[in-house]
Amino acid sequence: MGAVNAAAAPSPDPVALDAHLVVEAGDFSLDLELGCAVGVTALLGPNGSGKTTALTALAGLRRPRAGHVRVADAPEPEWLDLDRGVDLPADRRSVGLVLAEPLLFPHLDLVENVAFGPRSRGMPRRAARARASLELERVGLGDLARRRPGGLSSGQAQRAALARALATDPALLLLDEPLSALDPQTRSATRADLARRLREFAGVTLLVTHDPVDALTMADRLVFLDGGRVTQDGTPADVVAHPRTAYAAQVVGLNLLAGTVRSGPPVVVAVDGAGAEVVTAEEPGGLADGSRALATVDPAAVSVHRERPAGSPRNVWPVVVTEVTMAGQRARVGLDGPVPLVAEITAGSVAELGVVAGTRLWASVKATEVRVQPG
């Protein structure tokens, strides 16, 4: 690791990528500070939150308005420092880029595709081809080396794209939704290969994804973006336990309600915007009256009823169905009411209750099913 970096990184995980990017694109502006250690950092966020923008700026394909990029392990570690007029073109940065589509060069066979990078960086033909063959072996495509991309399945093509990106030994690997264009079955198989290959990779990986499976199974750290700004940054376990935005909660499959504490007992959270209150079973101890809080509810803990339920649940609201999706025998039902909720019910209930969008129902949540964290 370079001297520049050793000095700049007092943390136990040395900072291998140190970037600050200020990018303007039309109405949109991105302002992102990122310090990453070797390993996989997932970048998550709603559509248009600036994930792709950040990646292209790091790769040198888009010019930021201000900022800097330093990558300790790269042959030229100083990639961008606009104050000092440094701005390496993409072909002199040491990045590997994989997009949703494989975009293999269609006129080259797989070995030539993967050898393109080493050749471009001056490696002799034989050495480049040997290196390419090795990379193809590593992603399980050794026997397809002489095939043209046209003859590959989408999963094979995407693995070849990964091999191509890694064949130049990049200091920074950028993956922009690398599995999103694959059909579900192929996606699982390819994810397994990707996860294995990433564990062997000794550089910094930035993985953009919308898929919770990717985030939970491959990343060491999750960074959430929204509107070009970081909204949450933590380990997968952190985020599952304490999602801080609706998007993060959705990724981990929870309902998130932000509001103000009215200390109890019972502790109540007055949900922002809505007139509704959520009754909890929390101890009043930890939560000061008037403090901000985030309440989370598991969709499976939301019950729906045709008539207003009479029983024990403390939280009961009239709702309208906005959406029904099914996965196996369970349906996820979007509900609009005093608070927006997602409920998970059985397929049987869907038919029985006649749940289609527009149906009016009652939703209930037991106080014991509500988790609260300071917000």
Partner: protein
């Protein structure tokens, strides 16, 4: 086409058939008027061989220039988003809709003895351009280059920019990206553009006769040969026309599916 509803199509089939006749009948008539028995004799007239040879030489020279200069221009146009690009593209396109005779006049104003470049060129080197084979090539380039550039640029613009970007992240500079990625990927477009440009150069008449005149063996290309022979030796003109028709059909055969925009 399924036969159902064929009846309802008659109002369309009649004008369509008429349109087809207007285009196809003359070509058929040309074939009918060929004196097949005497064809070898007519094909051996000097005007035939001489003008075809000259057409082969000049269109070959034209294509070399078109490839070497037109391909980089197409790439620069395809990848530039400078606000001037639109204007440059429009400028390059003008000869497509400019009457060739006007092109010939313009070339005369440029390379003629009293032309913008021609006068200076003659003083400096003693070379004059009009009425030479070079003039024929310049006329052919003027009319053919736009066809090539527009076709190839279209293909190159259709090329996903992310291929260039990926090549850059893999360490390829602009020149390597152009030669190793962009060009190989648009080869079908290059083929189509080349065939179009070549056909246009081969058929060029107005600009050539205006700017290069009609000198057998020097500036009298095949179309000018047909025109000259028509008065003197109509059967030679028909024979030469037949050869050109054949060439046109072969070119189209080679283009086939790639033709339609």
């Amino acid at each position: 086409m399924s036969t159902r509803g064929r009846g309802g199509r008659v109002p369309l089939l009649v004008p369509a058939g008429l349109a087809l006749t207007l285009v196809a009948l003359p070509m058929l008539a040309l074939l009918l008027r060929v004196d097949w028995a005497e064809l070898p004799t007519h094909l051996s007239r000097p005007v035939v061989g001489q003008s075809l040879r000259l057409s082969a030489v000049t269109t070959s020279a034209t294509m070399v220039v078109v490839w070497l200069l037109g391909t980089p221009l197409a790439w620069v146009l395809a990848r530039s988003d400078h606000r001037l690009t639109t204007w440059v593209r429009a400028l390059v396109t003008v000869p497509l809709v400019l009457p060739p005779v006007v092109g010939g006049v313009a070339l005369l104003m440029t390379y003629g003895r009293r032309g913008v470049v021609g006068g200076w060129l003659e003083q400096a080197t003693g070379l004059t351009v009009p009425f030479t084979t070079v003039a024929v090539v310049l006329a052919e380039i003027f009319v053919a280059l736009p066809f090539y550039v527009i076709t190839v640029e279209g293909a190159m613009r259709g090329l996903d920019r992310r291929y260039d970007q990926l090549a850059a992240t893999l360490g390829a500079g602009p020149l390597r990206t152009f030669t190793r990625v962009a060009l190989p990927m648009v080869l079908p477009g290059v083929a189509a553009g080349s065939a179009l440009a070549w056909a246009r150069a081969l058929g060029e008449f107005g600009a050539t006769i205006t700017f290069a005149g009609s000198f057998p063996g020097r500036t009298q290309t095949a179309p000018l040969g047909v025109y000259a022979a028509l008065e003197q030796d109509p059967q030679a003109a028909i024979a030469l026309s037949l050869v050109m028709l054949l060439v046109a059909v072969v070119v189209l055969g080679a283009l086939r599916s790639r033709w339609v925009p």
